[in-house]
Symmetry: C4
């Protein structure tokens, strides 16, 4: 089998495939729970677990080739603080968003019959399968709270991902970092899912939002209050990721023993070997 000439092709395929796997679990579990009107096929716990498992598996799929970012907020924070190439940020973000978009289309098609039964008009009732809403759709919930929440949630994500992948901070070994990163996302879903549905990932939110917009959800760019919302789970996570990365530098990384460590610790999310 021939190798790709350009390694970036492999990296982008991996980011595409890893985010695809992530969203194939993430949006489908919400579809399963939301369309199971008697609650017999899952609950919020299964949503939190399946998102986390999706992250773990998506990282295993992609980490060898691309580092397994799967999230523009992570990619940008790696570029800002860990020496990841700024030139690759754009292509990575496109591949991530495309993977999320394709996955959401597959879920949209696979769950079309069940969605059509419980929400034939494709309203806000099932829009949350694909993209997030302030307060998960509570009437009148404030966009300010959602913004703060997304900044805080993504700061936690990036802070802990850096802690789990900076070699000199003693991350998990035996290539089991992706399992712990999955637990991190399980915890975020359980503890930081109430104010804005824990997008904490611009690709995770925008890709499926566009997929739903193109397949019957005409109001997918707005929230339950009719305000344009799609930009919030893009902007706030990027800001939060940068804050989390900066705090990791200040609170942990600058106190680690070895100056010699810094080159090797650069851009190694989830034990990548690029």
């Amino acid at each position: 089998m021939s190798k790709s000439r350009n390694p970036l092709v492999g990296e982008l395929c991996a980011e595409f495939a890893g985010t695809l796997i992530l969203i194939l679990f993430g949006t489908a579990v919400v579809a399963q729970v939301v369309t199971s009107t008697d609650g017999s096929l899952g609950d919020h716990d299964s949503i939190a677990w399946a998102w986390g498992i999706g992250v773990t598996l998506g990282v295993y799929v992609s980490a060898r080739l691309s580092g397994g970012h799967l999230n523009p907020a992570v990619t940008i924070a790696l570029a800002a603080f860990k020496g990841f190439s700024w030139a690759k940020v754009g292509p990575y973000v496109v591949a991530q968003t495309l993977g999320a978009f394709v996955a959401a289309l597959i879920v949209r098609i696979s769950y079309a019959e069940l969605i059509g039964t419980v929400d034939p008009g494709h309203t806000i009732k099932t829009q949350g399968i694909f993209s997030t809403l302030p307060g998960n759709g509570i009437d009148g919930f404030s966009m300010t709270t959602a913004f703060v929440d997304q900044v805080v949630g993504t700061a936690i994500l990036v802070f802990v991902v850096f802690a789990l992948t900076t070699v000199w901070n003693n991350p998990p070994m035996a290539n089991l970092g992706p399992v712990v990163v999955g637990l991190l996302v399980v915890g975020l879903g359980m503890a930081w899912g109430a104010n804005a549905g824990y997008a904490i990932n611009p690709a995770r939110d925008l890709g499926p939002r566009l997929a739903s917009l193109m397949t019957g959800y005409g109001d997918a760019l707005s929230d339950q209050n009719g305000d344009l919302y799609f930009w919030l789970p893009i902007v706030a996570p990027i800001i939060g990721g940068l804050i989390g990365g900066a705090l990791f530098k200040v609170l942990i990384e600058m106190h680690l023993t070895a100056g010699i460590a810094e080159d090797e610790a650069v851009s190694e999310p989830a034990n990548a070997h690029r």
Copy 2:
């Protein structure tokens, strides 16, 4: 203790035993939940977890001897893409189906009293303990959706199993791959269980279906709409597994660095050492 002369005997014993363990957990957890009419002995979350744990343990039981396939769709995909011997596919599939059949009989007997109490006629109400139904028994649910679902679900399964077992893609180490494969099946149950009960494994479905057919479930070959259904969770997973394997080749494997890796990466599901 004397060794088997023919190593295939050990491999088939392992596939039998591993699938037996898988189905001893898988069908029994559904029996426990379905016969607990007040819901006090579990829910969909416990079903998803116990199936995943069954996979993890079944793979640990068998991986050393047989590679721990436990699933004809996996065996066929390994033959198509990873050099597993086509001559062994038939015997493996028989051993897997037999293991699932015997396990279902043990569950049928052990849970006979509780099943007899909640469903004395052995109707479709408890048939789902043993085999899957389109839409988990929703009246009029379409077989097309179930077919698409089983193709997609098994494609995800095989794609990720290949990612987790291809040595040059950096799988989990310390022989913990089977735990992550279990998490994969937990996630599939939570996210891809609504349209067709996530058979994603012909042996898992056919073996218990025959066991129930022979022990009082006269309609076990059909679905809730009276249509012949048993073939679907056989055919669709095989197709899905081949699609998942092919996508893994295209999106990940052909971009991996070392051409030298390919021989060693052949047919190593869940860190087998055959």
Copy 3:
């Protein structure tokens, strides 16, 4: 710090302490769920998880010194099939039962106020906190089903424990076997908990049963039908453990490659180093 002269003292302390930890989680989680009358402090899922976590932690506490059996059915199966000294079986069983007894007393005292509120007469309503009942207390549930269930459940337990601890069958590494053994018990609680409350361990059942008998539960030796029951979760698990061990020999161990392995694989439950 001086070492014990006789290493058996350390082994028995470890079995005592490990079973103590196991039962401190196992009976307390049932107490928490049963006394939380509005269901707000847990459910069957938390019962299954906490028992499994108790096993994992009890094994970590004790495995270095004693091998972490924590269960007479396991100890006897190890003596029958893995060369564990028959002379130590008696002392181990006493230490295990004593550890379970003391743990149950601690839970009995700690939860006395809550138990007194929901069941001031200390009846069969809360007896299940400490010891098991056929069909978890369903009126008229048959002892035969409970017996079959305990044989099957313990056979699964010992079969898989042997698979996870026989060095030549490739068990989990990095000393993470106890985590997988815990998952095994989680799965057993979810799938094999309906017919007899998954005692699968004579010490786990008898120790707490005696503790409850001595602290207000006058009928603790009988089941809900008034029949003497305490003997069943002792006898059936021992039989089941022997069956499980024998099946492991026939289906897996005799097919493993190396004759040289057999000495080293002897009595190594959960990565013991004795």
Copy 4:
């Protein structure tokens, strides 16, 4: 990047950051569940899991620099039994409490809108988000039971943490100890959460209690019966931790084989490398 001159600064930053992460998960998950009045955003299971995940992640954040205590009861027990410097106990406890305090403020602000909706008066109804109550707020629940519970729960915590971190007792390897410590806390929440809300950590309770006191919860120092309560989850865990540490010495450590081990086993919670 320049190193801190004084390594204690790094240690205190790590204890601050690790406890911050712990409490960012711990108090937020309770906020999410308590403010989700229809129960659709979690339950007691998610509370137990998110606290455990918070511990796992907090330890990974901090263990390299500080050992990852995150709990004054652990720090004091390490000083009493494992040679941790008594001179550092004070600074560690302050850093831990400060981290918990700041985290609780962040949760207080992020969840202000939801808390304001379900409990505009900031009463005891939502005080449990931040600090614990005897019997989780049951009217008239006795402080004696809560005290016993906190002693027992923290004794279990420290006993098992010592078992999981004493090198010669064979702890988990591959730097996965923090995952098992997280499971320990999950189990404590499921089994020892009924009598006093499993504070088992003075910093975890006092820090958020002060944060809530300063932001509208005027009665945060008292329990539902109007009695001063804040001292109990400080005093009882410290006593319990000392008992747990002493029992570990007697039941396990003094029986371990090698006298040579003792120096190296000193103060190594969660595989620290200090």
